[in-house]
């Protein structure tokens, strides 16, 4: 019987050079040694320490097989032995899958050794130890695999469950959209749950109604000692900001805290109206905030959409009621630079009261005319819309040069 070392079947440990060839077979990724001299490695199961002069008889009690047998059978007949292994000890069957069924026997603690052992025996032991580690490793892998499979099965089951639920919901929705799921069937669920549902429905209706006040610009919530007002600003259809004012009404009307920017003349407005007419106070404050946010929004839009036309940085003050910038204009005889200064003297207004547009002093008369037209546009249109209209005018001018420059669309 010539046995060669297993060709690193489990993929882990290389065959140590110089280790005597042992009739070893790897089964199930673990060690199932043939108990041949000189040292039958029967201690794989742990517990028994390795005796240096162990009787040559193999531990039949444990293994349930005679030493003469080249292959030890698994004591548990239910543990399958992979096909090819039974036939011949060597060479190992290449069909053995790298991850075969688990072998519970391999989960054993390392046997305790009496101390360092010289000579080939030690090397054998080291080798066996390594093999054992390999075995443990593969057992661990198998266990992991089992867990993975279990997890996979759970995941699959969950997917199935969710799919079924989704399909049910889809079907219900379809019925509902067709109007087949009537109020009555919803009421029929059970007698009392429907009364609950009626109450919950009403609460939702009231919540939606409250939500609507947000869209009207002035909203509020009753607090223990007063009202917390919320002012919402918008530019046309786009909502911009919300500001909060916590107003105490007892013992006297007073603003507890607020999120109004410092440059809005809140104190002045409060002094004028807060004690006498709360609604008036909020309306005036709203006008200031809405105009401020509106001016800021226009500047932001200008910078966002027409940065290509702007020359240098746009300058504005904190209230955004003074805006200065320079921009490019293309005329018949090339491109020119205009500078604009917009001033909003009415702080409750988001259109400038004054718009000065100037061109170079030596510019042709046609440009001076255009500058005047632009100034008029800035006073009438939102900043970014005025720019959109300039661009449009220039385009049409390119196509049909009859149109005067800067003509309103």
């Amino acid at each position: 019987m010539s046995l060669r070392p297993p060709q690193n079947l489990s993929g882990g440990v290389p065959w140590p050079p110089g280790v005597p060839l042992l009739p070893l077979i790897l089964l199930d990724g673990g060690l199932w040694a043939a108990p041949c001299p000189p040292a039958p490695p029967q201690n794989v199961l742990g517990g028994v320490s390795w005796p240096p002069r162990v009787p040559q008889t193999p531990p039949t009690t444990l293994w349930g097989a005679s030493p003469s047998q080249a292959i030890l059978c698994a004591p548990d007949p239910h543990i399958p032995i992979t096909g090819g292994l039974q036939a011949a000890p060597c060479p190992p069957d290449p069909h053995i899958p790298p991850h075969s069924p688990p072998n519970p026997w391999m989960c054993t603690p390392t046997p305790k050794f009496g101390g360092p052992r010289p000579g080939p025996q030690a090397r054998v032991l080291a080798y066996l130890e390594r093999l054992e580690a390999q075995g443990r490793e593969s057992a661990r892998k198998q266990e992991e695999e089992e867990q993975q499979e279990q997890k996979l099965a759970e995941l699959k089951a969950k997917v199935q469950e969710l799919r079924a639920w989704r399909d049910k919901l889809r079907a219900k929705l379809e019925l509902q959209q067709k109007g087949l799921l009537e109020k009555d069937s919803f009421k029929m669920d059970a007698e009392h749950p429907s009364a609950w549902a009626v109450l919950e429905w009403k609460i939702q209706i009231l919540r939606d109604l409250l939500q609507l006040f947000y869209l009207t610009g002035i909203n509020g919530k009753l607090t223990r000692r007063g009202v917390c007002f919320c002012i919402t600003t918008a530019f046309e259809g786009t909502y911009l900001q919300s500001y909060y004012l916590d107003v105490l009404t007892r013992p006297e009307v007073r603003i507890q805290c607020h999120s109004v920017p410092i440059f809005i003349p809140l104190e002045q407005i409060a002094r004028k109206h807060l004690q006498t007419d709360m609604r008036r106070f909020l309306v005036v404050l709203f006008d200031h905030l809405n105009a401020y946010d509106g001016r800021r929004y226009q500047v932001d839009q200008l910078q966002e959409h027409f940065s290509g036309r702007l020359e240098g940085t746009l300058q504005r003050n904190s209230l955004c009621n003074l805006v200065v910038f320079r921009y490019n204009v293309s005329g018949d005889s090339g491109s020119f630079l205009f500078s604009a200064k917009l001033f909003y003297s009415d702080l409750c207004c988001s259109l400038p009261t004054e718009a000065i547009v100037s061109c170079m002093p030596n510019a042709p008369a046609e440009l001076a005319e255009m500058a005047a037209a632009h100034s008029e546009m800035f006073r009438r249109l939102a900043l970014h819309k005025a720019f959109a209209s300039f661009s449009k005018a220039e385009e049409t001018q390119d196509q049909a040069p009859i149109n005067p420059p800067g003509s309103p669309q």
Partner: protein
């Protein structure tokens, strides 16, 4: 490798869970939007539950729901009273909903002080990074603008730009002026019933002052409330005179000046005082033309 196997399933589970969440929300929305219960049904439900769960553990849930209901109703009634905006009916329909985009169609009717309105708009909410952006589109207003002709221009401008917020703010302030005018007219009618007449009722935009001793003599105070396209409101008052010929023959000049005088009085004293002074003058037993030209304590302000 194994992780990839899981990932396929885990991804699907995540997708399914998201889809289910959306579907469930959609279902709840539709259920909410397609149902209607009258106040009576709501009261019946409360009574039913009260009877059933008196002193039982579920009674807590009932009282918490009732408390919620009451507090919401209190808030709404406070806001309606405070802002003067009353919503009488509201319905919404979710047109589109996914993770970061919701489109709802709202129908709303109500009144702002005494002015009724009906609206329709789409509310688009987009979630980007940290904040939600809210935009109004497809804004439509139905108002009987025949009566409030200066309002219709403003309304169509807000419709064009989707300015729902501006609509509410300006309508509020317009309606407040409207209300103020009505109250002022009524106040003078009650105070000087013989002199003040409201030919178009309390909602009309003018009053007529008559002197019972001077048949044919009439002063007409027209009070218009102007609203521009940006929603700015300005009250415009003017005085028209109707003077019998025999009076005119005698004193021509003062009546030509009266409207100008009234305008300066408005600037000096404000609307109410100016009207009151005019009424007092019109009601005096002595000849009005004479008063308007000499001897009146109002003379200084008339010039």
């Amino acid at each position: 490798m194994e992780n990839n196997v899981y990932k396929v399933y885990e991804d699907e589970i995540q997708l399914l869970e998201e889809e289910i969440k959306l579907l469930a929300e959609k279902y709840d929305n539709l259920k909410q939007e397609s149902t209607f219960y009258s106040d009576e049904e709501i009261l019946t439900s409360i009574k039913l539950l009260q009877k059933e769960f008196q002193g039982k553990s579920k009674g807590e849930r009932l009282s918490s729901l009732k408390a919620q209901l009451e507090s919401l109703e209190r808030e709404i009634s406070f806001l309606m009273k405070f802002t003067g905006i009353h919503f009488t009916s509201h319905s919404k329909k979710t047109l589109e909903k996914n993770e970061n985009r919701t489109v709802q169609k709202h129908r709303l009717s109500g009144n702002c002080h005494s002015l009724p309105f009906q609206l329709e708009f789409q509310l688009l909410e987009t979630q980007n990074k940290e904040n939600v952006s809210t935009v109004i589109t497809d804004f439509n207003v139905i108002m009987e603008s025949g009566e409030y002709s200066d309002l219709s221009k403003f309304v169509s401008s807000t419709e064009k730009h989707g300015s729902l917020l501006l609509f509410f703010r300006s309508l509020s302030s317009y309606a407040e002026w409207y209300e103020h005018r009505r109250c002022t007219f009524l106040h003078f009618k009650a105070k000087y019933p013989d002199i003040v007449a409201l030919p178009e009722g309390q909602l009309g935009d003018y009053i007529i002052l008559r002197n019972p001793k001077l048949p044919g003599f009439e002063l007409m105070i027209v009070w218009k409330i102007h609203i521009d396209e940006e929603g700015r409101i300005t009250p415009v008052l003017d005085l028209l005179t109707k003077v019998p010929e025999q009076v005119l023959e005698r004193k021509m000049a003062p009546f030509e000046n009266a409207p100008t005088c009234f305008r300066s009085m408005l600037l000096l004293f404000g609307i109410e005082t100016a009207i009151e002074n005019l009424i007092k003058v019109a009601g005096l037993e002595k000849s009005i033309p004479a008063l308007l030209t000499r001897g009146s304590n109002l003379k200084s302000s008339f010039n």
